[in-house]
């Protein structure tokens, strides 16, 4: 078995050495894990879809700790993966350093901008999607208080919170929006107990709709919302199925499309570096509707959200982006 593996490995290496035309794309799954029911899982789904549709293979590794970023990125590039897709804002400083060393390899970074000639930066307009989520929360709320649970306290998560707040205020200017961040270290992405406790604290302050943008911590938030009978909004992947009946919607971020497109464009030799913005117009972000939340979203809510969506796309409503000036208008 081991011998077989070695032989296959050697064969693969020779094949890769033969020319970059044979290069497989590579995907580095970020901390939080492949099946986080959220961000990483969405990326994985995109890669799998590409694999099924094209019949081609791709390389994949999963980070286990913060310290492995550079090593993993370099190894992936050296094994001949092209393009190498990395997920998450935390990779930016590492990629900044690694990309110039492999000028013949293309990289794609999701959620952050890295200004290098061989890097494609895919960013989403999470503030717009969160704005729609905020509108739905405010429309569904009976208490006039809605809340937000973030994962690690970083500008990207503040961007979610800020968009959510603006959307809620657009519907009801007097609404109270409670914001909580789980922590300041990467452990904040994996603490469902604390997520649940934050949600309980918010409920006791009157919140009846909670929006979780917190990776694995969000599992605890959505669970507590279901236990306590309030509505919840999921994030990144469509999480509506997790607790049918209490999930109002999910702010879907099509990371899968970003990964699929990076793989496919390289395959078709039309990979472009530079910044790519996936927004409401291109369905890069959206609010999820399916059979699990159909009963919770009435026609009025839907039409108001659709109207706002059209206005944002047309530029009539401008949603403030927290990351543009590190502040949120109150």
């Amino acid at each position: 078995m081991t011998l077989m593996h070695k032989l296959l490995g050697a064969a693969a290496l020779t094949a890769l050495g033969a020319g970059s035309a044979l290069a497989e794309p590579g995907l580095i799954i970020d901390l939080g894990g492949k099946f986080d029911k959220s961000f990483n899982e969405s990326a994985y789904a995109g890669a799998q879809r590409w694999k099924e549709e094209t019949g081609n293979d791709y390389m994949e590794t999963e980070l286990q700790s913060e310290a492995q970023r550079e090593q993993t990125m370099r190894r992936m590039a050296e094994r001949g993966a092209n393009p190498v897709v990395v997920l998450g804002f935390a990779n930016a400083s590492t990629l900044e350093k690694v990309a110039p060393d492999y000028p013949d390899t293309n990289f794609t970074i999701v959620d952050m901008v890295v200004d290098q000639p061989n890097v494609q930066s895919v960013v989403f307009t999470e503030h717009e999607g969160s704005y729609l989520a905020g509108m739905m929360a405010a429309l569904a709320s009976e208490s006039g208080t809605v809340s937000f649970v973030g994962g690690m306290d970083v500008p990207l998560i503040r961007k979610f919170a800020c968009g959510y707040k603006q959307g809620a205020k657009a519907v009801n200017p007097d609404i109270t929006v409670i914001e909580n961040m789980t922590g300041t270290t990467p452990a904040a992405w994996n603490d469902p107990v604390k997520g649940g406790e934050l949600t309980r604290a918010q409920i006791s302050q009157g919140s009846d709709v909670v929006y979780a943008a917190a990776g694995g911590t969000g599992v605890g938030v959505l669970q507590t919302a279901a236990d306590e009978g309030i509505k919840a909004i999921g994030v990144d992947s469509n999480q509506n199925y997790m607790h049918p009946g209490t999930m109002l919607t999910s702010m879907v971020k099509r990371v899968d499309n970003a990964v699929y497109e990076a793989f496919q464009s390289a395959e078709e030799d039309r990979f472009e570096t530079g910044i790519q913005v996936l927004d409401l117009g291109t369905d890069g972000v959206a609010y999820a509707m399916d059979e699990h939340n159909a009963d919770l979203v009435d026609e009025e809510m839907k039409s108001r959200v659709e109207e706002a969506k059209a206005k944002i796309i047309a530029g009539e409503i401008e949603v403030h982006d927290y990351t543009s000036d590190d502040s949120c208008p109150s």
């Binding site: 492949k34 899982e41 961040m181 406790e197 006791s204 669970q223």
Partner: protein
């Protein structure tokens, strides 16, 4: 801040303090017997995983609890084997336990459930449900009705229906463990010998009592208590296991143990204090005291700061058991 808010914060304090308290008492037994245990975190984590996994597979929270405690005791015995029988370094053995737990749980979970190192969400009988004490529901309804009538109630009744009633079984078990631990350690022959083993194992040995057996007993008790703590996290507070879900609570429990100067009742208050700090931090993102805004991060760091203050000897001295950390070698 009205009374109800204070009660809600205290309610949250009790929930957050429970895993700390169980882990802290586990450390107390182990260290009182002279076996330093920094593997509390790892034992809680395996217990959290196996309790959630077995509960998910069988649908019974009790089987889950049994599996969690068994797993934790197994890890405790590994720690005992390395540090008591083979006289290895107790700190290194503890660290190894933490690493083993962190890696092993995710690996088994992935192989078992294929959900990326987590267990499926637990529902119904696979979770500990909240126990409503007699009369709590009626009082709660009464409270709601007074609000509906437009009268602002005092909220005193909430002390019963919110703070005292409505927790899961393990919370009451944890609190009951405090007097039990005190009694066992300070009022029984076993407890006297156990403490003696942590202070002067040579004397215990001279008296004809087995040091090794006592230390193993202490380590197993620690395993059981950590097992309860882990099961509470995964099947009481949360609904399933997530990678590294203990999130440093084992280390906070160690800090509480030092803060409590290795005494059961002090441990209760230390854990409640640490729980309170977290609950307040959860409730308020920043607190204004005399016009100065204190960020929540400060509240999160406060348990560690307090421990350092205690260790530095500013607020009384914390003197650990004298034979702690040393393997016992019988003279020949």
């Amino acid at each position: 801040m009205d009374l109800l808010t204070i009660i809600q914060i205290l309610d949250s304090t009790v929930r957050l303090a429970t895993p700390l308290l169980l882990a802290c008492l586990a450390g107390l037994f182990s260290e009182r017997a002279g076996v330093i245990d920094i593997g509390l975190e790892g034992k809680m984590l395996v217990a959290a995983f196996f309790s959630a996994a077995v509960a998910a597979a069988t649908g019974s929270v009790w089987l889950g609890l049994a599996a969690g405690v068994t797993a934790s005791v197994t890890f405790a015995l590994i720690h005992g084997l390395a540090s008591i029988t083979f006289r290895g370094d107790q700190l290194i053995s503890g660290v190894a336990i933490n690493f083993l737990a962190s890696g092993m749980t995710v690996l088994i979970a992935q192989d078992w459930f294929s959900q990326g190192g987590r267990t499926p969400s637990l529902t119904g009988g696979a979770r500990f449900s909240e126990i409503s004490l007699p009369g709590a529901t009626a009082l709660r309804e009464g409270y709601r009705e007074t609000i509906a009538d437009g009268v602002e109630p005092s909220g005193v009744s909430a002390i019963y229906w919110d703070l005292i009633s409505g927790h899961t079984l393990l919370v009451y078990v944890a609190i009951a463990m405090v007097p039990v631990s005190w009694y066992v350690l300070f009022r029984t022959r076993f407890g006297l010998r156990l403490r003696a083993v942590g202070e002067n194992p040579g004397a215990v040995d001279t008296a004809g009592v087995s040091v090794v057996r006592l230390r193993y007993a202490a380590v197993v008790i620690a395993g059981v208590l950590c097992g309860l703590a882990g099961a509470y996290l995964a099947t009481g507070l949360a609904a399933g296991f997530v990678k590294d879900m203990t999130a440093g609570r084992g280390f906070i429990a160690l800090a509480a143990l030092i803060f409590a100067k290795w005494r059961p009742w002090y441990a209760l208050f230390a854990c409640l204090l640490f729980g309170l700090l977290e609950a307040v931090g959860n409730r308020f993102q920043s607190i204004d005291i005399l016009g100065i805004g204190i960020p929540t991060q400060f509240m999160q760091a406060l348990p560690y700061i307090l421990t350092v203050v205690i260790l530095a000897g500013f607020v009384g001295r914390a003197i650990p058991p004298r034979a702690g950390g040393e393997p016992y070698v019988k003279e020949r």
